[in-house]
Structure formats: C-alpha cells, structure tokens
Subunit: 338 residues, 2 copies
Amino acid sequence: MKRPTIRDIAQAAQVSHATVSRALRNSSLVKSETTEIIRRIAEESGYRPSAAARSLVTRKTNLIGVVVTNIADPFVAEIVSGIEEMADEHAYSVYLANSNADSDRELRVVRGFEERSVDGIIVTSSRVGAVYVPLLSQMRVPIVLVNNQHPAEFTHSVMIANFQASREITRHLIQLGHKRIAYIGDKSGYQSDTDRFGGYRSALDESDLPFTPEYVVHGDSKPESGRIATEHLLRLAQPPTAIFCYNDMTALGALKAIRTGGLCVPGDLSVAGFDDLFLAQYTEPPLTTIRQPRHEMGRLAMETLLKLMNGSTSEQNFQVPGELIIRQSTAPPKATEP
Amino acid sequence: MKRPTIRDIAQAAQVSHATVSRALRNSSLVKSETTEIIRRIAEESGYRPSAAARSLVTRKTNLIGVVVTNIADPFVAEIVSGIEEMADEHAYSVYLANSNADSDRELRVVRGFEERSVDGIIVTSSRVGAVYVPLLSQMRVPIVLVNNQHPAEFTHSVMIANFQASREITRHLIQLGHKRIAYIGDKSGYQSDTDRFGGYRSALDESDLPFTPEYVVHGDSKPESGRIATEHLLRLAQPPTAIFCYNDMTALGALKAIRTGGLCVPGDLSVAGFDDLFLAQYTEPPLTTIRQPRHEMGRLAMETLLKLMNGSTSEQNFQVPGELIIRQSTAPPKATEP
DNA sequence: CTGAAAGCGCTTACAG
DNA sequence: CTGAAAGCGCTTACAG
C-alpha cells in the first residue's frame, strides 16, 4: 500500500486536487464543510504531505543546517540543543552535520546543505579559517556563526565575551591574593584563546602584577595536554600559585597533575577553568569557572537566523556575558611567603 | 543571481536538459566530450543539484532520521556521532530531532521524518512505550532501535548486553570480598534497569549471597537522586559496603554523598557505575564502571539500517557486550568484621 | 549517443 | 468557493 497523495484524497472526496491542497493548508477559500470532509479523509488514510514536493514550489524547506565540529563534544551538544529547541518552536527542523574540524569535510557538509536547500545555516565553533569565510559569504543562504574562531568578524554571530569573562576570573584570583598566576592556553590559534589571554593580561596589568612569560603554556584544550602543561609549571623554580585554564577540559588535566604531584587544590594551588561543563560540578574539588550559557546561545543564534530568514539585513553580533562561578578549586594562596 | 538549474546548463552547453542530467550523473550514455563540457559549465556556474527535485522522482532522499531523547545527553551524543560517521561513509545525511522523552513530541518528530521522506530511522533509547510500538511498525520505513527500552523486543535493534555486564560488575564486587552490595536503580521502568537488576541478582545468587531488599533503592538516573539514595543507604542499621549504580550519573551523586558523609571511596565503601561516560575517568576516585561502546553501537545501528534499506528483511538484533573497566572506586571492604 | 515527453507531488495565479 | 493549467527541478523510459 503506497503512501496516499493529494490526488488520492481528491478522488475520495470528489473534488479537485487543488481544493485538497487548499483545504489541507487551511485556506479560507474552501467551504468549511468541504474542508472538514477532506481533512477527515486525509486523517483516515494516514496522509503525509511530501515536504520535497511542497518545497519545490514554495522554495522554502523549513530546514536549517547546523555544522558542528563534533556532536560528541559536550560543549557543542548543548548549543545544538538550544538551536533545536528554538527551531522547533518556529516549525523548523534541524539537519545536522559533523565537520570534525576537517575543512574538506566541512565544505562537503555545506555543499550538502545547499543541495538540500536549507533555509538557513548555523555554524558552531567554525575553525576552518580563511578558506571558509569567502565561501560562506558566497552562499545565498543566511548564516549565523556561534563562537566564531576567525579573527575576522563575521556579520552575524553569537559569541561569549571572552575578554571580559577571562579578565573577571583572573581578577577573582588576584583578589584572593594570588600574584603568580599561570595561563594554560590553546595553541591552535583560536580567536577565543587570543581573547582569553588578553583578558588575563589585562587583569594582571590593571593590578600592576608583572607578566611572566614562563607562566604561559599552550596545549590542545584536552585533559592530557592540561596535565602535561601543569607538570611543566610545577617544575618551575618559582611555580605559580594559581592556574587559569583555557577551558574546563584543560583544567581537568591540571587537577590530575596536581593530585599526582602530591599537592592539594586549592590548598597548594588554585585552578580555574572556562565553560562550566556539566562535569565541572563534579570534579574534586568542584571547579571555579566561567559559565557559558550555551543553551541560550543556541537559542539566540536560531533567533537571529529567524530574523535574517525573514528578510532582516541588519548586522547582528551578540556578545553574551559569561558568568563567574566560584566553586572550591580556588582559594587564597598559602601564607608561607612575604 | 538565482541558483542555476539543469536547464541553464543545458542552454549554455547547447544540449537538452536530459543530457545534462545524464552527464552529471556520470551516465555512460553520454559522449565523454559532451560530459566534459557539461561538467565544466556546471562547475563554473556553481551548480548544485536540487535534492528535493531529484528525490521526488527517485523516491530516495539519502536522508536518515535520528530520534534522540536529548542531544545534550553525553550518552546519546556519542551514539549519534557513530551513526553520523557511518552514514557519511555511505553518502547518507542525518536529520536529527529531540524527543525530550516526551511522547507528543516524539510523535511529531516521527511525522516530520515521514513528511521529509527519510529512507530510514534510528531511535535511540526509545522510552515512549506502548503507544509507540504499533506506530513504528506501521511506518513504511525501516527502523532500528538503539538501547530499546520497551519490554517487547523490536525486530531490529542494537543494545548493550545489560544482564551480562551487570552480572560481571557485581561479580567483580563479590570477588573483592563484598557481601553487602546495594543497587541504586532507576524507577522509570526502563528495560535496561530490569536487566541490570537481573544481572545483579544473578551474581548474588550464584555466590549464595543473600538478597537484601533494603539494599535496592530507585532514583531517576541523575546525580541528585543518586546522592539521596546513597544517603538513605548510609543510614541503614547495617549499611552496604559497596554500591552498584544503574549508571555513572547516579554514581556521581553516590560519590558526593559518601564524601559529604565523611567517608572514603573505596576505603569505606566501593562504588561502581555503568556507561563509562567520559567523566568517569575524572571523578575522584576514578570510577569503576561498564563501558558501553557507544560510538561502535551507533555505527552498528547505521550498518543494520543500511542492510534493511537495501532490502534485507532478516531479523537483526545485536547484543553488544559491555566491558568492565576497573578503576579506583572499588576495592576490598574494610576488614573490621568477621 | 541524444532529445522530446511524461511524471514525481505539490502550490498558485487565473478563470469562472 | 472550485477547477484546469502551468510549473517547481529533476529522472527516465521511449524513440530515434
């Protein structure tokens, strides 16, 4: 038994298929009794309109494409969840694709979006850089970037206020009395690393604390590299008393290295992260960090995209403030020195 | 400048649009020079075939729909990642939708899949129960379930061998010398809870350990309820010396309750989880648990779906073995008693 | 090897 | 209020 079409219903209802189409779309043109009959028949026969056929003529798919670096990344997943929620509220569906931070794959993915005629695109943590920007702007489809990692600003974007948040958490460490504060950054050249480093430096400067280049180490944002970077810092002649990490994943490795080294957090050393992943509440000790409102950022990105799809052309760049979450991984330094 | 169609290219190449269609699909019917010319023009004009138009005639969309309870759930995200990877290898795209474990939403989502004419569907952790099963079987599209939570077996599914894995981890606790082992389960009536509880009981039975009903408590699979359940267990006149939790999230709460109660893991109490979420490596102490090969399970589900889409009708029920991962949260009980 | 024609399942002016 | 007709962008027998 094949899927019924509008014509099958027309036949059963003894009307033209045009009338069925109108009735199903709730057109006021159709007599209400006729509509009634048609809808009943459609219901009974399990009719489902063909999105492909409809979109072919309306030139609208109610589909939006979301490119993510990796859906298994907990950071990304919550943004997608926010996008999906807002999309759903406006009758859009989400078509998702991983880029795995691979540029070839990312291009294929975007091409796939074009072929599927998505009405809009959201790219999270786009990291493909230069190649990608012109391609994006060539596209005939509105695009919103979330946490764009290009130095060049994109026209429509939602991102966390990295500089301010980073300055705030560094200030927090300074207020606790720390003077030797390390930063474990990311070496991949992300804009967010540049900005977080900037906030860190700015906080040091405003408190007249010296900037010590050897307190800045770079990893790859994963726990293992955070561990290695921390071991390195601990071996310094004059080790830091606090470590601010580019993200929570890095902080995870830092905590491990410190514990392995027989030291205590925050007794011997304070550690701060960035992101407020779910697990930040469950580390030992729970992690002081910056909360990125990921779900809301996803919603905002989708909201922005909705405006663009409705014809708005105004520039939309949102800087979302991060929130300092103080937990137990930060405390005053030991009072063993002058 | 509108998107070029097959007709625009035909005009430029001075051939019929049928020939263009063939050339682009690499038909051997077309003279290779002609193909060459056509492909070049298509390339230059940035032509993208319309998936909607094509699928309307081929009746194939190369789209598969994936229903998840919640994409932000780390457990789910890795399954999706495996699905996506395998799908991509076979030129399928993934169309994703959250059900939020809400049956109305789940039904809408599935209806959306139908309208978009997906070629196949994968449902992860389907929890909608009775209503859903007949609906699924009505559909004209092949469906594979991952970690199906209906008591009734579905024809095509991939799931973890809950009973065996649970028995294995309980045996591990028994071998360490534990005799008073608690189980914190899930109260929502998931099949996986029933099976894990079954494995737990079976391990007790085969070692002639008494089954103590008061050692079985039920939560909602989240940390907070794990914490509450554990506090309850600790207040028993004769508290358990080990706790096996339905999942890692529950174990997270258990660890917290034990720490708050001033006790040590594994010194005073052993804790085991299930799932091996990423964070299980980073709890304090790192968690003994059962690894579910989520990525592989996603790949397997997609592979199964591919077979079904290619016309196979044979029953495909895969029980994937879990792997016992022994970390530091389990150890022999204190030797303070006979 | 190529083209003309029909058709996939819809929507929407246009006429009545 | 309703129907006949054209068309969205493709694919694919059918003829040549």
